[in-house]
Amino acid sequence: MIATGNKPRLRTAVRPPAAVWVPAALVAAAMALPLVYLILRSLEAGPSEVFEVALRGKTLAVLVNSVVLAAVVTAASVAVAVPLAWLTGRTDLPMRRAWAVLAALPLVIPSYVGGFVMVSIFGPKGFAQESLAPLGVERLPEIYGLPGAALALTLFSYPYVFLTVRGALRGMDPALEEASRGLGSGGWTTFLRVTLPQLWPAIVAGALLVALYSLSDFGAVSLLQFDSFSREIYTQYRSAFDRTPAAILALMLVALTATILALEARTRGRARYHRSSAGSARPYSEAIIALGRWRWPALVFCGTVVLLALVVPVGVLVFWLVRGLAAGEPLRLLWGAALNSVYASGLAAGVAALAALPVAILAVRFPGRATSFVERLSYLGYALPGIVLALALVFFGANFAPGLYGTLVLLVFAYAIHFLPQAVGATRAALLQVRPSVEEAARGLGRRPVRVVATVTAPLASSGILAGAALVFLTTMKELPATLLLAPLGFDTLATSIWTATSEAFFARAAAPALLLILVSALPMYLLVIRERAKL
């Protein structure tokens, strides 16, 4: 609901307590670290070299490619995710809980696994072509390039939008929709005029994650040979001793991200979305919409998405595993790598969730120029491609903190910086649903600001905070480039095992760790859904 109380509460009048702004400022400073290195590194080149790299034809083509890819993937993800969230969250779709789990699960499939699945189905001599050849089909449409990369990225990143939108739907007060119906609006009008505007912050938060993910993805674009920024940066880094062009390209990518963030900020507006009505919200489960005969098209829609994004990829992996075993490939025990993955990802999720809380509180409760700057900074890590972030930290570690270089601390730091925006986005959306008067009541009852956060704000926003932590955990499990560069010597994770195998085209060898990675990271996803069964 848009709170239009008769007393405007101009919160800018209250300064944030030190317990909030000091940690938030520290987080912001940490976030700025890699970017500062990047700028210094680019400045080492003269202006002529900077312009030479930035304005050559290849760079401009890469720029256009990246923008097109991000736009296509974001639009397609929203188009898939919003109906899915609504169907599984607010209608009587048969087995909607199961559909919700299945629709969220593609998040656990890493883009490089998705890319290799695409190639092995639609590529030359792939499953599709081999099974269609007897029917006289000689050639399939080209999978390499934009179509393949966009398809793969959409299928495995739409759950970002799905989860944030579903969370917002669950937190919504059904009375708002009822009020709209009572005011004479039909179901469809109500959805457009009341439900959708309520969901807007969640849609934008999710879409922002998808757009940033598409821009920084490395695995899928590499395997599907699409020249986006991150692939070009990696190529530059690998093929030349001079790291300066890579730094300049990376800086351009940061500028692109900054543009997207600025556009996002303009859509946010001044509306507030916490409930302003009296009493307590009824649980959303009371407001279930009957689909009637529309349930069949709805089931077909959900089925198609789950088939493409989950069943087919897992099926292909199982196929490779079985074929590899049949060919005598030994099934290696991967428990060491799995434990390493879980350990590092768990640490990263905890650190990111803790770091996100002060930033989100600052952004939601104390809006202003300084706080929105801090919030924007917190998005930076995600905008830096993993490979660039890793390079920056390698440099930083080698020059300023040799004790940390090559340790788990630096790796977890990189993960936390990289995936903090996910935690901030989810926490922010959850905080928007917590009424400020509830926090004021706690202060009036004698609790200091930090205790208020611990006893009231955090528990009320806990579903959002947990969702954020789980997202960080999942994406860290899949993270590849930073792991490749920053992991301590001999610290193999599932991601690095898969990459080593696929880059040498040992698909059968990659299948076992890929399946294990998917299985292990499915667990926190399940925890997210258990939360739904509990009250809220």
Binding site: V14, S277, A278, S437, E440, A441, A442, L445, V456, P459
Partner: protein
């Protein structure tokens, strides 16, 4: 212990261009219930939030129970003010049960059995015994209201603030909850400030009423004084129906369209006189008969409320006035009446 619970001196608070509170002064003695009454947007909620510490004044000082809490470089945070607030939307913690909501403010104040005992005591006081384990969304509006009050009272605050606490209740429940709350606050011996824009609510709830317009207090007085001796014409109109007639005052007598009437008020000469509708008594005037006492008038309209009724009259000399009678048969529109004044008129200087 100071006998003065609240002392606000010259407090000003602006939000950007808007001056919500302007050089406001207010005092309240311990154990009293004060209502801040004013139209919406007059700054009354801001005064409450300044007292609670959710806003800090741009200028001026605030003392609570003799302790400076804001001004002169001091700004005591809300958690250290010992002020209990009951919010308009109740602001119950939706993740905590009734008992835990009430116990929230007792952490660090009382422990173990003592805390449980205090929770039980406050729940009994607010007639919530038996609902300890309910969640806020499982309660009715009136019950949620009492939980909000119980939670505010539990830590034995110096001062209880209530921000339009009845505005979310339906009319039938409102009067009942209001008298309940008054009893509870009385039994707790609390000093309370209550914000409302409803004059009936303000009068029936409070020992003293402060009327606020445009960020300043126009008058503070007990309800009956405020009603019969409003300080300004604006206050007179805000706290009930009022008739205004021009006239001449001299030595406690007013000469106006209603004849010669006893008057009180500071001014003399050409004045504006205020008469409450109850002060106008009516007598039926058969057709053709002349008035022996009082002045002649014609009934224009009638609003019947049950316990009383309001009649709109036009005096033969022109002015339109309003009279309140008991719930009896009364008069019909078109009937002729004779109007007499009982009591006195209050005179204001001519604007």
């Amino acid at each position: 212990m100071s006998e003065t619970m609240i002392r606000i001196v010259g407090v000003t608070k602006s939000f950007g261009e808007v001056e919500a509170v302007r050089a406001l002064n207010l005092e309240l003695r311990r154990g009293k219930l004060l209502t801040l009454l004013g139209p919406s947007g007059c700054g009354k909620t801001t005064v409450l939030r300044l007292l609670a510490g959710f806003e800090s004044p741009d200028a001026g000082e605030i003392e609570i129970s003799g302790r400076l809490v804001a001004g002169r470089g001091v700004n005591v945070p809300p958690e250290e003010r010992r002020v209990g607030m009951v919010f308009q939307d109740y602001a119950l913690f939706p993740h905590l049960s009734v008992a835990k909501n009430v116990a929230y403010g007792l952490k660090g104040v009382l422990r173990g059995k003592k805390r449980d005992a205090r929770v039980a005591e406050v729940l009994a006081l607010t007639r919530l015994a038996g609902l300890e384990d309910r969640m806020p969304h499982e309660l009715s509006g009136g019950q949620q209201q009492r939980v909000a009050l119980a939670r505010a009272l539990a830590p034995e605050p110096l001062l209880v603030l209530l921000d339009e606490p009845f505005s979310n209740l339906d009319a039938a429940l409102r009067a009942e909850v209001r008298s309940e709350m008054r009893e509870i606050l009385g039994a707790a011996g609390a000093t309370a400030v209550f914000v409302t824009h409803d004059q009936t609510e303000a009068f029936s709830f409070a020992d003293e009423v402060a009327v606020m317009f445009d960020g300043t207090i126009a008058q503070v007085a007990p309800p009956e004084v405020l009603y019969h001796y409003p300080a300004t014409r604006e206050v007179a109109e805000f706290v009930g129906e009022a008739n205004f007639v021009p006239g001449t005052a001299e030595g406690g007598r007013l000469t106006c369209a209603l004849g010669e009437v006893p008057a009180c008020g500071e001014c003399a000469g050409r004045v504006e006189a205020m008469l409450r509708p109850e002060a106008l008594r009516l007598r039926a005037l058969p057709a053709g008969e002349d008035t022996k006492t009082g002045v002649g008038a014609t009934v224009l309209a009638r609003e019947f409320y049950g316990h009383d009724q309001l009649l709109k009259l036009r005096l033969d000399s022109g002015p339109v006035l309003c009279s309140r009678l008991g719930g009896g048969p009364g008069f019909k529109p078109g009937e002729r009446v004779a109007v007499e004044v009982r009591g006195h008129a209050l005179v204001f200087p001519k604007p």
